[in-house]
């Protein structure tokens, strides 16, 4: 606020000062975040064509929750406990595990409930399927959500595990280690368009470095971005390369909080290296690991650029992700209502993870 410097003679009481200092942010916050948030919900209740409404504001039609129904539901949808046996049984198993871990006291009540709830969803949601003669109104929505989950499911462990190993190895204050850390971190600051630019060419079967190397050994190159078996892997590799840095730094910070004495004591018991990592580092890093995982989930659930620029969601929609579907529904198909309904869905999922993060953070603090 350049203005305040001119008003230094003015004496404000505490309330007035608070008002002056808070108003600018509250105004921007209210207008550009709170209002759009509610407006998004409002749009999702309408049949709202991007161009038609732009030319004639009355061209929208209130349709209640129909957009949600059209996006997420279908005709003759049934539920079965074994529609997707693997996923659903896995969900059941995790529920059991959560109960067991709680019983033996390995996890707190809140954590157990959180894991249990997530697993319950895993059991319930995949059970829905169109019955005889029925079908989803939008055949692409749930597969798109599924792809997003697969992307998150591959990227987050990929990032977390690699970052953890690197952080453990790099946790020394020397020049060489500092340099190595910089190298592993620097790709994080590149923009998504640079990253996809590099990797699109890296993966190209004709011009790509990977293909050039395969050629050298006489192999035939993989056509990464248009092969359904490799397209998702390609964007996961790209993403891990890109976003390892933050996770690594967070782990390094967490590692520095672990007391040296613990390691020295362990060394006396002949526990060092891998053993020390397993018995000392991991348990003491539990909080950081949770944090990294939740943050990465939130971050990668919103993936857009990699899919949009590298594979166009293909082949056969195998890399189509939620945010790209929202973008396409809004700006290619002009259907703002449907797109907004999907955006609300995205918000609910993200919100659930934010709450989870908050709860876990609180619990560890206490």
């Amino acid at each position: 606020m350049g203005r305040t410097s001119g008003q230094f003679r003015l004496k404000l009481n505490e309330r007035q000062a608070a008002l002056v200092l808070l108003t600018p942010f509250l105004a921007v916050y209210g207008v550009f975040l709170v209002y759009p948030f509610f407006k998004g919900f409002w749009i999702s209740l309408h049949d709202w064509n991007l161009l038609a409404v732009a030319f004639n504001p009355d061209a929208k039609e209130f349709v209640g929750l129909r957009n949600y129904q059209r996006v997420m539901w279908g005709r003759d949808i049934e539920w079965g406990a074994f529609a997707q046996p693997f996923i659903q049984l896995f969900g059941l198993a995790v529920i059991g595990l959560a109960i067991f871990l709680r019983r033996v006291g390995r996890v707190s009540k809140v954590t157990a409930i959180a894991i249990g709830l997530a697993a319950a969803l895993l059991f319930v949601l995949p059970g829905f399927h169109p019955g005889e003669g029925g079908r989803w109104y939008d055949r692409r929505f749930w597969p798109t959500v599924g792809n997003t989950l697969v992307f998150v499911g591959l990227t987050v462990p990929g990032v977390a595990i690699t970052a953890l190993i690197l952080a453990a190895a790099l946790n020394r204050e020397t020049r060489a280690m500092g340099l190595l850390r910089t190298i592993f971190f620097v790709s994080q600051v590149l923009s998504v368009t640079v990253v996809t630019l590099i990797w699109q060419i890296m993966f190209s079967p004709r011009q790509g470095l990977i293909a050039n190397i395969t050629d050298l050994f006489g192999g035939s190159p993989i056509i990464w971005l248009t092969d359904e078996r490799f397209a998702m892997a390609a964007i996961v590799i790209t993403t891990v390369w890109w976003s390892l840095g933050i996770a690594m730094i967070l782990f390094l910070a967490g590692l520095q909080d672990i007391s040296r004495d613990l390691y020295e004591a362990a060394a006396l018991d002949n526990a060092s290296g891998v053993k020390a990592f397993w018995f000392i580092t991991l348990p003491n890093l539990k909080r950081t690991i949770t944090l990294v995982v939740v943050l990465q989930i939130i971050l990668h659930f919103q993936v857009f650029g990699q899919s949009h620029l590298m594979t166009n969601g293909g082949p056969d929609d195998t890399t189509q992700v939620l945010v790209r579907y929202i973008y396409q529904s809004a700006f290619r198909d002009s259907e703002l209502g449907r797109a907004s309904a999907m955006a609300v869905f995205l918000f609910v999922i993200m919100g659930a993870f934010s709450v989870l993060q908050f709860v876990l953070g609180r619990e560890e603090d206490a």
Binding site: L21, V28, L180, I183, V186, V189, V192, T193, I249, T288
Partner: protein, 277 residues
């Protein structure tokens, strides 16, 4: 330095080199002639050494290209956004952390609940809103939405909370006003936190893709990130691989330099933003 340490460094140097390869390759390709690249990208050492060498791609980029213009836009947008976020976050963060006023906890909660709203969930209503105002294709359209995100307020609030109260009290006893305390006492103390916030915001602004994609259609307001996306979506018809790669290098240079210079703050930023955000 003992032997196991030397082993560790050597063992890590290999993945580190592999990690660098994609970036090195981009830089190397940007220095090779386009007609050579059209035939092969592995002239020398798999293309990692820029031989045959040329500066033509960069020359062409600055002679005809729109890249310098996009570059300038990115600086304006990222700089403006950073400034805006700093102003809004320090003022609000200070008020929430140190001042007492009615409904304080309710207002604080209302501000921080916004952390839960992802950008992607509000870009459509934001788009229609800016369209109603006739604001698209402008610098403020590119800057404003991010200024409303409360992460900066949260960071600054945490920082101000950690400052001991006696400094403030001493000033109060001397009859110094609240705004003066904020300006002369608190802001200088907050410099490291502001630095951290500034770098985080700048990086975010420089790299943002989705919002500029829907808000800017005119060249005057293309950012470098957006411009680069427009180049790569049509490789087949583009000006040649070398030039595209040169644009990529130019787009990355400022953020990489910024990172290398202010590495300490970035690391701090990630740690603070991560553990508390």
């Amino acid at each position: 330095m003992n032997r196991s340490y030397a082993w560790l460094v050597t063992a890590l140097a290999i993945p580190a080199f592999l990690w660098l390869v994609p970036t090195l390759w981009m830089v190397s390709l940007s220095f090779q002639p386009n007609d050579v690249l059209a035939r092969t990208t592995s002239s020398t050492a798999l293309g990692l050494v820029p031989l045959p060498f040329t500066l033509e791609n960069y020359a062409a980029l600055f002679a005809f290209g729109q890249t310098p213009w996009w570059f300038l836009n990115s600086i304006i947008v990222a700089g403006g956004m950073t400034l805006g976020v700093l102003v809004l976050s320090t003022t609000a963060g200070y008020a929430l952390a140190r001042l007492d006023f009615p409904f304080k906890s309710a207002i604080t909660f209302a501000c921080l609940i916004g952390l839960m709203v992802p950008e992607q969930a509000v870009f459509i209503p934001l788009y229609t809103m800016f369209a109603d105002f006739g604001w698209h294709n402008s610098y403020h359209a590119l800057m404003l939405p991010r200024m409303a995100v409360p992460i900066g307020v949260f960071l600054m609030m945490q920082f101000f909370k950690a400052i001991p109260g006696d400094i403030e009290e001493a000033a109060r006893i001397d009859g110094v006003g609240w705004l003066q305390i904020f300006w002369f006492v608190m802001l200088p103390l907050a410099r490291p936190a502001m630095m951290t916030l500034a770098i985080l915001t700048f990086l975010y602004a420089w790299n943002d893709y989705l919002w500029p994609l829907v808000s800017a259609q005119q060249r005057e307001y293309f950012t470098i990130t957006l411009g680069l996306a427009s180049i790569q979506s049509n490789f087949a018809q583009s000006e040649g691989l070398g030039r595209v790669m040169a644009s990529g290098v130019i787009a990355s240079l400022p953020v990489v330099l910024l990172f290398l210079i202010f590495q300490r703050y970035v690391v701090q930023a990630m740690t603070v933003g991560g553990t508390k955000g």
